[in-house]
């Protein structure tokens, strides 16, 4: 005999400990089993795309900091690269190296936090998170040294970076790069073969390869599904064609693979950092660019491999000092497209973990 039960609807968020900010999911449950999920967002919408239409090209850089606030350097970088592409501004060699160093440090910091939060959502009582905060803290200190900021850097400039690195910066980064692999080993020792982690993440929230491509997934979320697609390798921007590194890819596309890909990307970032630190040349950190830049009429789509996926900027110029249209391709918003497919049939606890494995930042989704 089956007892008739009512499905019930739960508004998970916008105020919830594991929605990474002000995200809301309207979840329908049958018992504890998820039968429907609808992501809802916009609680952090600040209209950055509209605001940008009223600012000069340089004034937009601090706005991009506020998109993905856990990887602000990458946002800066993607934007200035799009403008450079649009206006044809050359970038000095040293600046490119500094950008790579910043971008990869940012990737380590962002992935550390993403992994830490993922394990936290699995129910570990903050311990992994605190361990990963330790390394993020060191990276933030490095950025503090570089540009005086810890969260919103505003460091990149059109045609270079705002300051050359202070002399004490490189030894500090070198030391960090020396230490980091042992810390990653420590995380792996604690997490990778933990029985409960395995039983909670293996086979959970599988994103098939074809669906991942069709749904425009990007970043570690795409690579975990077995697609070897990394813009640093497939469409090498900046100076990424000079570095040797591997692209870690998962096989099953489950939560565990996403964790595994992130951990291994941290290792690859360390490799890139080692090479960049060894080769960095002397020279200017910034080319001469007019204060009120007027790019020629045209449009450009510039994209970089940000920690959370493909971060694209679509800019339209009408030869004035402000862009005619400024659009951001939010990687994590597009990754959320398949949340329903991933979560239906799993339990509430799995829904939280699947959502955590996508690693969203609401600043970028809501803009």
């Amino acid at each position: 005999m089956e007892v008739r039960t009512e499905p019930f609807v739960l508004n998970l968020g916008p105020h919830h400990p594991s929605t990474h900010g002000v995200f809301r999911m309207r979840v329908t449950f049958d018992g504890e089993v998820v039968t429907d999920v609808e992501p809802m967002f916009g609680y952090l919408h600040r209209g950055i795309e509209k605001l940008a239409e009223g600012r000069t090209y340089t004034q937009i850089i601090p706005l991009t900091d506020r998109l993905d606030y856990l990887a602000a350097m990458s946002n800066n970088w993607g934007y200035v690269m799009a403008v450079e592409k649009l206006a044809g501004v050359p970038v000095p060699e040293r600046a490119e190296y500094l950008r790579v160093i910043c971008g990869e440090l940012m990737r380590i910091a962002s992935h550390a936090l993403a992994t830490g939060f993922l394990i936290n959502e699995l129910g570990a009582f903050f311990t992994p998170l605190m361990y990963m905060y330790r390394e993020r803290e060191k990276i933030l200190d490095l950025f503090d040294m570089l540009c005086g900021q810890r969260l919103t850097y505003n460091y990149m400039r059109i045609g270079g970076v705002s300051h050359d690195a202070p002399p004490e910066f490189f030894p500090a980064v070198k030391q960090f790069v020396r230490e980091m692999p042992s810390y990653i080993d420590e995380y792996e020792g604690l997490i990778t073969t933990n029985e409960i982690v395995l039983s909670r993440t293996k086979g959970v929230g599988v994103l098939p390869r074809n669906l991942a491509i069709n749904a425009s997934a990007s970043g570690p979320f795409l690579r975990a599904s077995g697609v070897q697609w990394d813009l640093r390798r497939k469409d090498p921007y900046s100076i990424y064609d000079r570095f040797k590194f591997d692209i870690p890819t998962g096989q099953n596309g489950d939560v565990y693979d996403r964790y595994w890909v992130r951990i291994n990307e941290m290792r690859q970032s360390v490799r890139i950092l080692e090479q960049a630190l060894a080769d960095i040349p002397k020279g200017d950190h910034r080319s001469r660019v007019p204060h009120l830049l007027r790019p020629p009429v045209g449009e450009v789509y510039g994209h970089i491999e940000a920690p959370r996926g493909e971060l694209g900027y679509y800019l339209v110029s009408d030869n004035s000092i402000a862009p005619y249209r400024f659009h951001v391709r939010p990687a994590t918003m597009i990754n959320l497209t398949t949340l329903r497919e991933l979560a239906v049939g799993w339990k509430l606890a799995d829904l939280i973990v699947i959502f955590g494995s996508i690693d969203v930042v609401l600043g970028e989704i809501d803009r």
């Binding site: 329908t28 018992g31 699995l122 129910g123 009582f125 909670r200 606890a349 799995d350």
Partner: protein, 394 residues
């Protein structure tokens, strides 16, 4: 219907029976009042100690310092928190079931303290009441706590609280069984349900004689007291604060006390059953008990600081497929040992039982699977194979 058999000695005979023979003041009521105060004071003291030890200890696990501002080394942090909670506004949700909502914290807290009535704290016989059915009393009383949890979940008119309450009931009911079966092994060895006798009989700590029962008891006890990795009731990342999401002020403080009170009581019971309770050389018995409780609790929050949480179906599977068969096997083996092993030489039994425990645990880890996984959903409903829909007339 036949009349119920009357207690021959009447009410006072029961009181006298529970009274230790060397009680100097004669009046049983005076004894009960004294020991009520002592038991509650001891319980509260240990709760505050546990809160302090856990907050500072977990902080060390997490490379932080923990609270160290209030008082020397943060010793008064718990008191500061308590004062803050006392002074906070008491909020009752508009659509709450008021009476149930108000009663839930009390019902959740009282059993945790009431367990101390039968735990020998200060040495042989120095306890509130030496019940000859002490274990039954403990099992019965500690199950009442879940009623408070369920009332809180139901009465708050909050969906997170309701999910938590449902999980709580399922979890408590499931883990009660391996818990009791594990404790029965100890009872067989001691030959008594009285906690005082159980301690008295422990020449060798039962941890050594009953290693498997100790492991099962510890795991089931963690689940009963909602400690990691079985803390599904208060799974912060999933259901916020669980059943006490809607509680604030003093009522929340009572739940906090209840949570740690259950942990204190469970540690005390584990020490009593397996570690020889108040027994120990040199130090006064009460100190020995406190040390043993803290050691047990330390293992508990060590696990908490290390492991992630299980999913709800894995949790149930672990109880029914993992712990319950092991507990039954352990009980059978123990019964055979008690029947046939000569009671004079118990020490040779220690390595035998440890080997049996290791073999059984390894064997079970091979054949036991957590199970669970994706469930088919069709048209917004969970599909149950072979289920027939029956119209329920209301």
């Amino acid at each position: 219907m036949a009349p119920l058999p009357q207690n021959p000695g009447g009410h006072s005979a029961v009181l006298q029976q529970a009274l230790p023979p060397d009680w100097p003041l004669g009046n049983p009521w005076l004894h009960f009042i004294t020991f009520t105060i002592i038991a509650i004071a001891f319980g509260m003291l240990m709760i505050i100690a546990f809160i302090y030890v856990e907050r500072r200890g977990v902080a060390r696990f997490q490379i932080r310092l923990g609270p160290n501002r209030a008082g020397p080394e943060g010793l008064f942090q718990a008191f500061a928190d308590l004062i803050k909670l006392l002074l906070k506004e008491d909020i009752v949700p508009a659509r709450a079931d008021k009476l149930v909502h108000l009663m839930a914290p009390i019902i959740a807290t009282v059993p945790a303290l009431a367990i101390f009535a039968v735990v020998p704290i200060f040495g042989n016989g120095a306890l509130f009441a030496d019940l000859n059915v002490g274990l039954l009393y403990v099992v019965g009383i500690s199950s009442i706590g879940v009623v408070g949890v369920f009332m809180a979940g139901w009465g708050s008119s909050n969906k997170y609280a309701l999910i938590s309450a449902m999980r709580g009931v399922a979890q408590m009911v499931s883990y009660e069984i391996p818990l009791v079966l594990a404790a029965l092994g100890v009872v067989l060895f001691a030959g008594s349900l009285s906690l005082n006798t159980i301690v008295d009989q422990q020449g060798i700590p039962y941890l050594l004689l009953q290693p498997l029962a100790a492991v099962i008891y510890f795991l089931a006890m963690s689940a009963e007291t909602n400690r990691s990795p079985f803390d599904l009731l208060e799974a912060e990342s999933e259901i916020i604060a669980g059943y006490h999401t809607e509680y604030s002020g003093m009522k929340f403080a009572l739940f906090y006390v209840a949570e740690y009170g259950h942990a204190v009581a469970a540690s005390a019971l584990f020490s009593t059953f397996f570690l020889g309770g108040w027994k120990g050389p040199f130090l006064p018995p009460v100190l020995w008990l406190m040390i043993k409780m803290l050691v047990v609790f330390f293992v508990g929050f060590w696990v908490r600081a290390t492991l992630p949480r299980l999913r709800v179906d894995q949790l149930m599977g672990f109880a029914w497929k993992g712990l319950l068969p092991l507990a039954v096997i352990n009980l059978v083996i123990t019964a055979i040992e008690v029947l046939f092993w000569p009671t004079q030489s118990m020490w040779p039994l220690v390595p035998v039982n440890i080997v049996i425990a290791v073999i059984l645990v390894l064997l079970w880890s091979r054949i036991f699977t957590l199970g669970g996984g994706k469930i088919e959903v069709k048209q917004g409903r969970v599909e149950v194979k072979g289920a027939k829909t029956v119209e329920v007339k209301v």
